[in-house]
């Protein structure tokens, strides 16, 4: 199994090194050809407008949509924004692979960025996890087939569907690989290895 990390912009190197530390096969994905050999994909944090613009310009947009209809994708922060079906005031298309509405920069500007405990429900077990929220979005609506996996206070911070896993914070900026392990297990189950 090989988990690709979309490397058009953002903190892809952090996801990449976390996967390497877990002893997994991984690859930085910049082109259609890079994506072809992957069984799953991570879309990192970064600037969603930049990622969208660059992916569209260099022929990576449609391939990622098709990839996500069959194979697992995890999105963190900007990655979640790209995956969502509905992003008010965005002015750019999204991949539309996850039936949620997402409000960008929902906590305010950088001075309102924060680190705080979130509560996650992974495999029926409640876990505390350190959530790093950088100019983070909020999930304002989640569709019927979307399962909520985590909260920060009243806010939904992590969700999944059969193929997609997404969170509003940055697990790649912590030392804790619990969320990456969860995504790995999810991928294993889906592709049967």
């Amino acid at each position: 199994m090989r988990i690709g990390v979309l490397a058009v912009q953002g903190d892809y190197a952090k996801h990449h090194s976390m996967l390497l530390q877990m002893g997994l096969k991984t690859r930085l994905v910049r082109t259609d050809a890079d994506l072809a050999g992957c069984d799953a994909l991570i879309i990192p944090g970064g600037e969603s407008t930049t990622m969208t613009t660059v992916m569209q310009k260099h022929g990576l947009w449609q391939p990622v949509i098709e990839f996500g209809r069959q194979k697992p994708i995890m999105g963190t922060c900007a990655g979640l924004i790209l995956l969502a079906t509905e992003v008010p005031d965005h002015g750019l298309p999204t991949l539309g692979l996850l039936d949620v509405a997402v409000i960008r920069n929902a906590y305010g500007r950088q001075v309102d960025s924060f680190v705080d405990q979130v509560t996650l429900d992974l495999n029926g077990k409640l876990n505390k996890y350190t959530g790093v929220f950088i100019r983070a979005p909020k999930i304002s609506r989640s569709g019927a087939n979307v399962k909520i996996l985590g909260y920060h206070q009243q806010d939904i911070v992590m969700v999944e569907t059969e193929h997609i896993l997404a969170c509003t914070f940055h697990p790649e900026l912590t030392e804790d690989d619990a969320i990456h392990r969860y995504f790995h297990t999810k991928t294993s189950k889906l592709i049967g290895c």
């Binding site: 970064g46 600037e47 613009t53 950088q110 960025s113």
Partner: protein, 294 residues
């Protein structure tokens, strides 16, 4: 309990800006062009460095009207510059809610001895450097992001290359030293021993390292990324060129695909005139910006 303004949160934003281009803009229209071209952030200024050079006189923090108009126009992070050591300008910029403050040599320094104590702020700071010692001193003062200085407003990449090579060479040198050599090395660098020790352990700076000052073409951007820049600041290079929109997009593509030379060739076609460059020897020593700060 929410933790705001910690180093983790500050460096977190710097991490998000990696693999991108930060563009100097002076109007909301330019900011929109930058955002549409794929900039990861904009630097809101009254005048870009090339015009600061021509204009002369004391260059200060921008009028808040300019900064606020740009904040209203784009959703990407907005940065702004304050003078070296001018902590009151920084306090004003923090109050305006800018996402990053550049304590910048492009403006006229306010303090020739002390830089700002950046630990006191919730907003992250980026600072320029010419070599490793300067980078580590700024980190010791609380900078969450380092950029090599280059020589702003020249469209000449030579100083950016010199400074990036000095930083990367310095890191490689520390990495090869034995533990007992580190304190002597920190004395030589004029930087705290704990940070020198951390650089040895990590094999890189403890915060991201970008490049600035002199990038004018897509190939310049690729050069700086290949030399170790994790993102590129482009000041005068875009809006002093004949076709800013096209050039901005091309430089963004060249950073993402910095090793795809066919692609860089393609995006470099027909970009029109780059900004007029300046030979370093044509700038008198006392008008060079990189020498400001220590």
């Amino acid at each position: 309990m929410k933790d705001k303004g910690s180093m983790k949160v500050k460096v977190g934003l710097a991490e998000m800006l990696k693999g991108g281009v930060i563009m100097d803009v002076t109007t909301p229209d330019q900011a929109k062009i930058a955002e549409d071209a794929g900039a990861v952030a904009v630097m809101a200024l009254e005048r870009i460095p090339a015009d600061i050079r021509i204009h002369g006189g004391v260059a200060r923090m921008s009028d808040p009207t300019v900064i606020q108009a740009i904040q209203k126009t784009v959703s990407i992070p907005v940065m702004a510059k304050c003078r070296i050591g001018h902590f009151a300008e920084a306090q004003v910029l923090e109050a305006l809610g800018v996402d990053f403050i550049d304590e910048s040599e492009v403006l006229t320094p306010a303090d020739e001895e002390y830089h700002i104590d950046k630990w006191k702020f919730k907003v992250p700071f980026v600072c320029g450097c010419r070599d490793l010692g300067e980078a580590l001193r700024r980190i010791a003062e609380g900078a969450a992001l380092i950029r090599t200085k280059g020589e702003a407003g020249t469209g000449n990449i030579v100083e950016a290359v010199r400074h990036m090579r000095a930083v990367q060479g310095g890191i490689r040198r520390i990495h090869s030293l034995s533990d007992e050599e580190l304190v002597t090395e920190s004395k030589r660098l004029g930087a705290p021993a704990e940070i020198v020790r951390e650089v040895k352990k990590l094999g890189r700076l403890p915060v991201p390292n970008f490049s600035a000052g002199g990038v004018a073409t897509p190939a310049d951007a690729s050069l700086m990324v290949q030399l170790g820049a994790e993102s590129v600041f482009v000041g005068s290079g875009i809006f002093k060129s004949s076709d800013p929109q096209k050039r901005a997009k091309a430089i963004v593509s060249a950073v993402t695909h910095h090793l795809d030379f066919n692609l860089i060739a393609r995006v470099s076609e027909g970009l029109g005139e780059a900004m007029p460059g300046l030979e370093l020897s044509a700038i008198p020593e006392n008008e060079r910006m990189a020498g400001r700060g220590w």
